[in-house]
Subunit: 256 residues, 4 copies
């Protein structure tokens, strides 16, 4: 039944740094159920983290770590040749840093989602996916590991006994094998907000087909860093609600 | 009785960064009872932190955070005009980052000692001392706050209900008011290892006199970053033991 | 005669960094005659510098270096305890970095203006002012050194034989001794655009009185980083032109 | 005739950073004819650069820029997905920064050699090699571009009209196709100092054979960052001199 459909909406937040502001965190917080908070390596700084954690707590938005490569200039989007062992240290460091602010704010961290080039690599590279999963499990077995639906990261997370969440991207096209269309393709990005909203519903309803298996989408990534981010997110919410989809944070899902 | 004298020996460790090695951490670990581990801002990196925490755990050395200013080039020794509120965020971030490695290694963090210019400022600036103390207390009331004996930091830590430890410096001269002689003075640094060792014993036996009060020294700072660091530390240990002083980590002290 | 009044309008530009955008450089370039370009320490990155230099060249805007403290998180606004000798190395490094892009673009660097906390310190601290002036003179005697009108920096620049430019701030109140009113004072910032424009004209017409001497204002600082920056700058230009003031870059002034 | 054999000896120097010291620059300066000086991205800082330039000038060692990726933690040895355009900006920035210190010291920069992962990439990736070569040529056509013997970088440099220098590595094994044996191979590194010295002579005498062409070695890379660096370099010098090879900086070569 459509009424049993549930999805989490997540957004990368806390990406400002010092004098530099990025996105309207307060407005986006009202649109989503999970916040992935930058941890000071690719974006964010201690003050931004402290304020963003408070913001999420006050709105009841689930709090997650969003660790990335140590590359502020490249916003964590440039691949870096960092060994799996060193990546596990980077993950651990950033998890602890964010959790400190959560602890002070009196809330728990619910999830972790790698950022940018690290997310992409962990989607495809098994050794990296295993290293990240083990680091998360060693740190806190109760954290939900968010990764690209059907990816190596999700598989590795399951293999080490973590709760995992399969993520879908409403504003990205998918290839027939369930992979994201590379950004080099002309129609890789879906720009029409109505089409993005329809795609969101379709992802929740149909999941993605990977190696002939249907993978259920547990969480949708909502981008917060373009001019119409808030109104676009609003359209997605409306479309989901019209289709009978309940929007709930990951840690309330029965499957977790 | 001399037999009741107890002191902790602490050393700043984990100060390497990437390709850059600093000090012989393994050798110094055998000389001290408490390790203050750099947290990646003024020194240290995630890999160094992971390895140093393991090293301390395996030797039963008490593990502490050694947060500093975000200034790798200046090694955290240059004063920075960072507000008390922002400093409290820096402290919180670095505490969490180090604790992540402690948690994975299965040990607890015992103490925190600010580094360099931040330590100096917190010794004298009440507002900064209070901000740091409150940040530590908000993060973990069980952490021992280490500060210059009789300083604003120790006072502020006590005022917020933290366990505190008064630190003495065997290789630094003291003024008659209990303050450290400024490094600009010709004899501010004691360089003869025998004299440093005698000074260590004297500090433990007599404490320092500040505002007519005798302040007991709970922990001695042993420097690990000069060529004869290990043999100098050995001399201090021998002198303390010859004087009947027990060398024990802070968290075993009756007064805590 | 009013017709002989001349002033340069300068603006801090090229302050974006990686993913982070700050200000509308293209629009502000059309408002000013001199661009102070961040050099990668407190703001800016190599790509931003390359593009900003081209932008200035194509509009005939005079190109200057805007070196600052190595503190991206604090945007160079936090005082740092860096020695005068080390500051002279920072200045030299940043001058060379910017000049590389000027050389490739086929233009010359015209001036240098220290940024933020370094600017403030150099205004008041004679040793720092001398160190900066000597570094600039050693690097290129033809550069114009821009400093707060009547400040230590301007005096030190003159003493080492540099061309100097006395800078005025239309949107800042001045004390009766010619110093800027500290930002802690309630009316330190002039926020009404009309009043800022009138103040600009007054600064050019009357100069500032420092130690009973009238100091002529050679250049006015136009801020580019708030929402109405462009329209405010436009008002200043209009007011200056209505008062018969010619707006020309520094290197065209007869006094240089 | 053996008597006509000439080679330059180069070494990466100025790799210290703040509190962190690396290598014995003064001693290595006496062993080589060309110094490749780190420019603050993967190693080095403004103070280190200033002092290293003076050191090279005072010994008559040719001065070169050694630009790298912006990755101090990885020492520029980790591949980074930075676009060719952005790399050209990084190169330009670092060239200018080093030249500033050369200018103040009254010497000229003679050459440029990319560092670490950037060197490796430029050896094999034509687009990157061309971007770097064009950036160097745009900055200063008189700079000698140093690259792996017979590599894409040397070819690209020649194509844009730069002076180039083919570099050989006495302590690295070569494959039959003239490429360096990958470090993953067991005997990739030659560790016996006598064998390294013999290999140095052989490289100068025979060159390397790449695509059936014999490529003359113009400069040998001498490593300065291991414990016996100075005595190893001394052995290489002795072996070269015994074989009648003249050791001279690149800019004195007739072929330039």
């Amino acid at each position: 039944m459509a009424s049993s459909l549930i999805v989490d909406l997540n957004c990368d937040l806390g990406e400002s740094f010092g004098r530099y502001k990025l996105g309207d965190d307060a407005a986006m917080m009202d649109m989503v159920t999970s916040a992935n908070i930058a941890c000071g390596f690719h974006a964010g700084d201690p003050g931004v983290m402290a304020r963003t954690v408070i913001m999420a707590r006050d709105r009841g938005v689930a709090l997650g770590a969003h660790p990335g490569y140590p590359d502020l200039q490249g916003f964590g989007r440039r691949p870096m040749g960092i060994s799996a062992e060193e990546v596990s240290h980077l993950i651990c460091y950033q998890l602890g840093a964010l959790e400190a602010f959560a602890r002070i704010a009196g809330v728990r961290m619910s999830h972790i989602k790698p950022h940018g080039a690290l997310y992409n690599l962990a989607s495809q590279d098994q050794a990296m996916a295993v290293a990240i999963s083990r680091a998360v499990a060693a740190y806190d077995r109760d954290l939900i590991l968010v990764g690209l639906a059907g990816s190596e990261l999700v598989r590795a997370g399951q293999a080490v006994g973590l709760h995992v969440a399969n993520e879908g991207f409403p504003d990205r096209s998918y290839l027939s094998d369930g992979q994201l269309a590379p950004r080099s393709q002309p129609d890789a990005l879906i720009t029409d907000p109505e089409e993005v909203a329809r795609h969101a519903v379709q992802l929740v309803r149909d999941g993605v087909i990977i190696h002939n298996d249907r993978v259920t989408i547990d969480t949708l990534c909502i981008h917060g860093d373009h001019p119409h981010a808030v109104s676009n997110a609003h359209k997605i919410r409306q479309a989901l609600q019209a289709a009978g989809v309940q929007i709930r944070p990951l840690n309330h899902h029965p499957s977790d």
